[in-house]
């Protein structure tokens, strides 16, 4: 099942390009702008691109978790694929699980690719605290996926899932600093961003303590509390999605 779902994923060029390759492309594209590669004394010698790198990482996570996964699941329901499976000895939850495993693998590939190329091409320092980055990444992704699964659970049609996915994507990426660098945001927005999946502040701080200090606010929460908040969102959202999920 996982093998088949992987092949199906790879046969969907839009998702592969936007979810897996785009974050890297975006970062490299921005890195081509000289101004973003200049270090500034205001940011303690860090370049804009250094501070912005975690946002590119989040881009792929959000794309897969709130857009791709719900779209596939609602399509499977709409087209009777889940229904067909429930007449076989295999429960349709198997296909959901396979889908989630494949999607998670794809964000891991996306992240690894981005971190490597950011380092190799743009000389963005690899994560300083890899273990904490991994924790923040997994917990943050789980929280995102929880939101995505609520959408997949309640939405009737795949086109509605796409609309909600886009809305969520824009909202989440706003707090994730895709449109306006978080450094420029008022404190209150930055603080809200600490509670919004996938928890960009925690990721930034674990990647680079210096960048973390720049994007953090005076009233910000400590790293592990942010992780706990994300874990809480992940658990609550997943439970809600499981409760609301409609197989038909």
């Amino acid at each position: 099942m996982i093998r088949i779902e992987t092949r199906l994923f790879l046969r969907d060029p839009a998702t592969v390009v936007f979810g897996v390759l785009f974050p890297t492309g975006l970062l490299l594209g921005l890195g081509a702008i000289p101004a973003l590669r200049e270090s500034s004394p205001e940011t303690g010698g860090l370049r804009s691109i250094d501070i912005w790198a975690p946002t590119a990482l989040v881009f792929g996570m959000v794309m897969i978790a709130v857009q791709h996964v719900p779209a596939v699941i609602t399509t499977y329901r709409e087209r009777g694929i889940l229904r067909r499976l429930s007449t076989t000895p295999v429960h349709p939850r198997t296909v959901l699980l396979a889908q989630m495993i494949v999607a998670f693998a794809s964000v891991v590939v996306s992240a690894a690719l981005m971190i490597f190329l950011a380092w190799a091409v743009l000389d963005v320092a690899p994560p300083e605290r890899p273990l904490e980055v991994v924790v923040a990444f997994i917990v943050g992704y789980a929280a995102l996926l929880g939101l995505g699964m609520i959408s997949a659970a309640v939405v009737r049609t795949s086109s509605a899932a796409n609309q909600i996915g886009t809305l969520l994507f824009v909202a989440l990426m706003f707090f994730g600093g895709a449109f306006l660098p978080r450094v420029l945001m008022p404190d209150v927005l930055r603080e809200v961003g600490e509670f919004i999946p996938p928890g960009l502040q925690a990721l930034t701080a674990a990647w680079s303590a210096e960048a973390g200090e720049i994007t953090a606010t005076a009233g910000g929460q400590p790293f592990w509390l942010q992780i706990a908040i994300m874990a809480g969102i992940a658990v609550i959202a997943s439970a809600l999605a499981a409760k609301l999920f409609r197989w038909e």
Partner: protein
Amino acid sequence: MTALEVRNLHKRYGKHVAVDDVSFTVEEGEIFSIIGSNGAGKTTTVECIAGLRTPDAGTISVLGLDVRKHRAQVRELLGVQLQESSLPDAIKVAEALELYSSFYRDPVDWRELMELLGLTGKRNTRYRALSGGQKQRLSIALALVGNPKVVILDELTTGLDPQARRDTWSLIKRVRDTGVTILLVTHFMDEAERLSDRIAVIDGGRVAAVDTPAGLIAQASNLDDAFVALTGRAAGSSESRSKEG
């Protein structure tokens, strides 16, 4: 031995009574058809048998096993081809067959099945690119891949051209010759007449008659007229065909 037994089945959706006391039995090796107009309760009956819906009352057993108490065993024995169910667009014919055969404990060789259904030439074609007839044959193949003893085929030939319908019919006969019991759901009188050993006419959620095609025709000059006499409506009319197509 009895392959399928439906006894006093009731199912309502809100105030609407979809199935109002349906009973029939299908013997092993039979091709048994359910005919009825749109909304007569055919599909609800079939969905209850397939375990997709829970009946409000009544019992259903497949080869002596209650479908609700022995759900896992029944799923190994019962193959289902549903209307309005499909596959992911990008899956290839051979992949779909291999995947579905992996669901069952004792599947048939999916390559042989692919050959039998004339799909070998399309083994690397994606689902989206198949014609209506090819999709239908794949759907039948998926219903058979688990080596079932009983197969439900719902609106088997709707949307197929005349040649594809005829090919499908001869395929169904061949499947029956291997000892598989077949429950056919249709609103085509000619299909029911040509294939069935016995036919149940369902109307308004009830069984209006169960008989052989010859027995039903004996009551009128042809099966269409027999159907109209039993139900007061013309199920095989072009209007109802286009609706379900």
